[in-house]
């Protein structure tokens, strides 16, 4: 007992990488350098509105945002939904990799520090998932990420929205269907006031922006001041 305690003092277990289990070096988050290297971060040439990576670096907006405006003010995303990040988000769906919420949430936190002003938010919330899927999986990834982000910002994340009724999984639909599918799907939970509030909306993946856009609309309808969006991964802009 005493011996074990002493050993742990002198040789503590290090922090290991949440993906591969290797020891991590001098890195800010709980992933090793190799696993971080697998992520394609969005650094330059991204859409100024939604944060999606641009195919044409000379433009400032992606094709979507050029076509129509969104209800949210600004969206940013950490990386491209490919390679490492795609795999990590996939793993994150499983209970065994639940603790990925910490490093992935921290990545979002780092991007928030860079692109938003920390004092700018009154509320942090996330996109609610289907009751059915929560039953399947046991947790909502977006909520875990939002919690982690909230911890870093010293602001408690709260579930403000709920789904009106069962919607079909977005990923199974085509683009036009998605926009249609999501319409009117979110309502504000009872007793929630968002009037004049500035809200940070957290989600895992940003594809067309339909989901976060719809949620933003709900808040704005109830008098919210402005909505900003942070997501973990986004697709590439396709012309």
């Amino acid at each position: 007992m005493l011996w074990e305690g002493l050993l742990n003092l002198f040789y503590p277990e290090g922090v290991s990488c949440s993906i591969c289990g290797d020891e991590i070096g001098d890195v800010e988050i709980d992933l090793c350098k190799n696993c971080i290297g697998e992520i394609e971060f969005i650094k330059d040439s991204f859409c100024e509105k939604c944060g999606k990576i641009l195919s044409d670096a000379n433009k400032s907006l992606c094709s979507d945002c050029r076509r129509k405006d969104h209800y949210f003010v600004k969206g940013r995303s950490v990386g491209v939904y490919e390679k490492g990040l795609k795999e990590y988000i996939y793993l994150f769906k499983y209970n065994r990799y639940r603790n990925l919420a910490a490093p992935l949430g921290d990545l979002m936190g780092i991007y928030i520090d860079r692109f938003f002003s920390r004092r700018d938010f009154d509320l942090i919330t996330y996109i609610p998932s289907h009751q059915e899927r929560i039953r399947e999986r046991g947790f909502n990834q977006a909520r875990l990420l939002a919690n982690r982000v909230g911890e870093r910002l010293n602001l408690e994340s709260k579930g403000l929205l709920k789904r009106r009724s069962e919607t079909i999984k977005q990923s199974k639909l085509a683009r036009a269907e998605r926009i249609e599918n999501i319409k009117g799907k979110f309502i504000l939970k009872d007793g929630i006031l968002v009037k004049d509030k500035s809200i940070l909306l957290v989600d895992d993946i940003y594809t067309t922006g339909a989901t976060v856009n719809e949620a933003s609309k709900v808040f704005l309808d109830k008098g919210a001041d402005k909505i900003q969006v942070i997501t973990l991964a986004t697709g590439r802009d396709v012309e």
């Binding site: 742990n8 002198f10 040789y11 503590p12 922090v15 800010e28 971080i36 971060f41 650094k43 780092i110």
Partner: protein, 784 residues
């Protein structure tokens, strides 16, 4: 907060010992800073008991802050630990017989022969029925009796406490000895009063010492001095290097090479691992053999702090490898520190401890950054260059704090010298074994190679040291400056670290902290030079005069320098002063002008002033010759001369012709007055009654009134007549006096001074005395 997720060197989860070490160190530092206070110790003890109870409760309840209680306890216990030790030191039994002629019985633990005689370290001391666990350092001047370890001796002598620090910029010998558990010193001469009664040395300690002696003899068999001295330092930790070699190595920033360190220990472990592998021994046995050999070597070399650190560190690494545990360098380094502080808490205050730990820490933390910045390709040279630069950057403030100067030659010298010395040690360890067990042929071959390296290294070091001087005297930085320096280094290295996650570094925030630190650094370093004070320092140089002055415009000067000048020199070096504008010599007696020789040697002096003399004097010739040799302008001053050192006017009042015949040197002392507005200071050297009468007569209508009187001739009864005193009418009287057999200062003079309304300050009681004035008011500070 954002930083809660960046891993700091003090990360609790991955480096739990770092915080514990820091808390221990803080506890020890505050205990040493506050000084012994019995009621504080008792109060702290009660607090500890209370915290224990609260801690117990909070652990049972699993309260959130239960860990913090442990941390507070660690701090408080370290505090009590040192306070208790200090208390024991104050109540030391031997204190009752200090200064008395005693006959003491003790055991000899160490013997060192030097050019003045022999020094013995003794412990288990008995004086009558007093017993002490402390040690005493006995110097046997011109003695010849080489005692051996464990000898029980009887010595008739007188115990003395070593001097404490009484001057700014000096160091406390008493505190230094305390770190070695040495309570007092004693002198005997020519073996008189020294009797050996028996020998009670333990067999192990004796055989280790015998082995060391044999090894020293074998080194002497194969090598001549100074090569043998270097090898003894390098292999056996014997520190008796010739002074010039020591100086050269220090000047080149190579001192660490002459110390037994991690390299030796690593090499020994490597040799043992090879042998054990060859013998197909088990891992456990190999570990056991390695560790015991390292500790044996530690015993052989006398437990130097940097080798103790190295052995503990290597032992911790070997154990980790054996158990297959993860190693975090910062954590085990802190662990080694904790172990050393538990055994010997005073180590924290030793230069060698601080240098050793900060060097390892800097190399570990700064190397990756420097490696990235250095525009050199990979290779052995780059590795050494990176490590030296890292160590140099980390050690800079510590070196400046203790030695007042830093050398940048180390960065160049290390990559050349270090590989050579490494090869030397590679050869030397087998040589030592072969030579000691008498394998003359193999030992001879090794010695031949070693001699080649030694000659080359020493020649190279001499060449470098005598042709290049890149050492910079910067003086002792204050603590705030040191903290800011480390902050700046920390943030720069953070900025330069390689990027893995984009935007992970909050550049704007780092920059803000960095810029703030740099500005603060500059303000602290240069901001306080706008003072308009005249500053005078009356040093405690025993029975002698030495005064330093600094005018409001930053001109610097000395009036006398004591017998040796070392108090003055070390003060000026600690202030980073390299030159003096003026040196005044009151008269050519050793207790005033003796130290001027040292001063002229050490500093660039612009002008030297001295009085005319009646009788030829050896010291005068030496000083003036040296001054001319150093291209100092020399001026003889007599009464009536006037000098102006803006905004201070200096009036010379004496001596005047014809010079006084009686007690000529003293009575013809240079007498002069500083006039700074309303603040006037009269310097009288060793002026006696006759000289005072002359001054009074010559300047009948000259107003002698002064704010401060440097009392003539160390307060002797033959000076400071009541008439003279009433003309001067000082508010402050400084007597430069120390231990003497002349009866200085005279009680009559002191009572006269007090009766005249002057505040009397004495160097023997007050230590150094510093006086400041802005030309209107004044204030003073005593050092003790």
């Amino acid at each position: 907060m954002i930083d809660s997720k960046t891993r700091l060197p003090i990360d609790l989860k991955t480096r739990p010992l770092v915080l514990i070490f820091i808390l221990m160190a803080l506890g020890l530092i505050s205990a040493s800073y506050i000084g012994v206070n019995k009621s504080l110790i008792n109060a702290t003890k009660i607090l500890v008991i209370l915290l224990n109870l609260i801690g117990l409760y909070s652990y049972r309840r699993r309260l959130k802050w239960r860990r913090s209680i442990i941390y507070i306890l660690i701090f408080l216990l370290s505090f009590i630990y040192l306070q208790q030790l200090e208390l024991g030191w104050e109540n030391e039994e031997l204190g009752k017989v200090i200064g008395e002629e005693v006959s003491l019985r003790a055991k000899v633990v160490d013997v060192e022969v030097n050019d003045r005689g022999i020094e013995y370290l003794i412990e288990d001391i008995m004086v009558g029925d007093l017993m002490s666990k402390r040690r005493v350092l006995v110097s046997n001047w011109d003695g010849e009796k080489e005692l051996s370890y464990g000898d029980i001796v009887e010595i008739d002598t007188q115990l003395r406490l070593a001097p404490t620090k009484t001057n700014p910029g000096s160091f406390s010998y008493r505190d230094y000895l305390k770190g070695e558990n040495i309570y007092a010193r004693a002198n005997i001469s020519r073996d008189r009063g020294l009797r050996v009664l028996a020998n009670e040395g333990g067999i192990i300690s004796k055989s280790i010492r015998e082995l060391r002696r044999r090894m020293e003899i074998s080194i002497d068999d194969y090598f001549l001095s100074p090569y043998s001295d270097i090898l003894k330092a390098l292999l056996l930790g014997r520190g008796n290097l010739p002074q010039d070699i020591n100086d050269n190595f220090r000047e080149l920033g190579l001192s660490h090479i002459l110390v037994i360190s991690g390299f030796h220990m690593g090499l020994i472990s490597y040799f043992i691992a090879l042998i054990c592998k060859w013998l197909k021994l088990s891992k456990a046995l190999t570990l056991l053999i390695t560790i015991s050999t390292l500790f044996f070597y530690l015993g052989l070399t006398g437990f130097g702090l940097s080798s103790v650190r190295a052995v503990i560190l290597i032992t911790l690494i070997l154990i980790a490898n054996y158990l297959g545990r993860r190693i975090d360098l910062y954590n085990i380094l802190a662990g080694a520190g904790i172990i050393i502080l538990l055994i010997a808490p005073y180590s924290l205050f030793k230069v060698s401890f601080q240098l050793s730990f900060i060097a390892v820490l800097s190399i570990a933390y700064l190397s990756p950054v420097i490696e990235k910045v250095l525009p050199i390709k990979k290779g052995k040279v780059k590795k050494i260059l990176v490590a030296t630069t890292a160590a140099q950057l980390g050690l800079l403030p510590v070196l400046a704090y203790y030695f007042y100067e830093v050398s940048f030659l180390g960065i160049v010298a290390n990559p050349i010298i270090m590989p050579l010395v490494s090869v030397l040690i590679w050869l030397a360890l087998p040589f030592l074994i072969l030579a000691t067990i008498s394998f003359p042929f193999l030992a001879g071959i090794l010695a031949f190679l070693m001699r080649g390296i030694l000659v080359f290294v020493l020649e190279l070091v001499n060449l470098l040291a005598s042709n290049f001087s890149l050492s910079l005297l910067i003086g002792r930085p204050n603590i705030l400056l040191i903290i800011l320096y480390y902050l700046i280094i920390y943030y720069i290295s953070k900025l330069l670290r390689p990027v893995v996650i984009p935007y992970a570094k909050d550049y704007s925030r780092y920059n803000k902290v960095l810029i703030a630190s740099v500005i603060l650094f500059l303000i602290v370093q240069f901001g306080f030079t706008f003072n308009r004070d005249l500053k005078l320092v009356f040093f405690d140089v025993g029975n002698g005069d030495a005064i330093y002055f600094e005018t409001p415009n930053g001109r610097r000067g000395l009036i006398d320098a004591g017998v040796y000048g070392r108090e003055v020199v070390s003060y000026l070096r600690s202030r980073g002063v390299r030159s003096l504008d003026f040196v005044f010599i009151s008269h050519f007696h050793l207790d005033h002008a003796g130290g001027i020789v040292e001063v002229l040697d050490e500093f660039e002096v612009d002008k030297l002033f001295y009085p005319p003399t009646l009788i030829a004097n050896q010291l005068e010739d030496t000083v003036l010759e040296l001054a001319l040799d150093r291209e100092v302008s020399i001026y003889e001053l007599i009464g009536g001369d006037k000098l102006k050192v803006d905004p201070i006017k200096i009036n010379v009042l004496g001596p005047t012709y014809p010079l006084i015949q009686d007690s000529a040197a003293n009575n013809n002392s240079l007498v002069f007055r500083f006039n700074y507005g309303d603040f006037k200071v009269l310097f009288t050297g060793d002026l006696e009654l006759e000289g005072e009468r002359r001054v009074l007569k010559e300047y009948e209508d000259y107003d002698l009134a002064s704010t401060l009187l440097k009392v003539g001739h160390h307060g002797s009864v033959t000076s400071t007549s009541e008439k003279f005193l009433s003309s001067v009418g000082p508010k402050l009287a400084v007597i430069q006096v120390g231990d003497n057999t002349y009866g200085h200062p005279s009680p009559l003079v002191i009572s006269n001074l007090k009766a005249s309304g002057a505040k009397v300050l004495r160097n023997d009681q007050d230590g150094a005395i510093t006086v400041f004035s802005d030309g209107r008011s004044y204030r003073y500070k005593t050092f003790k």
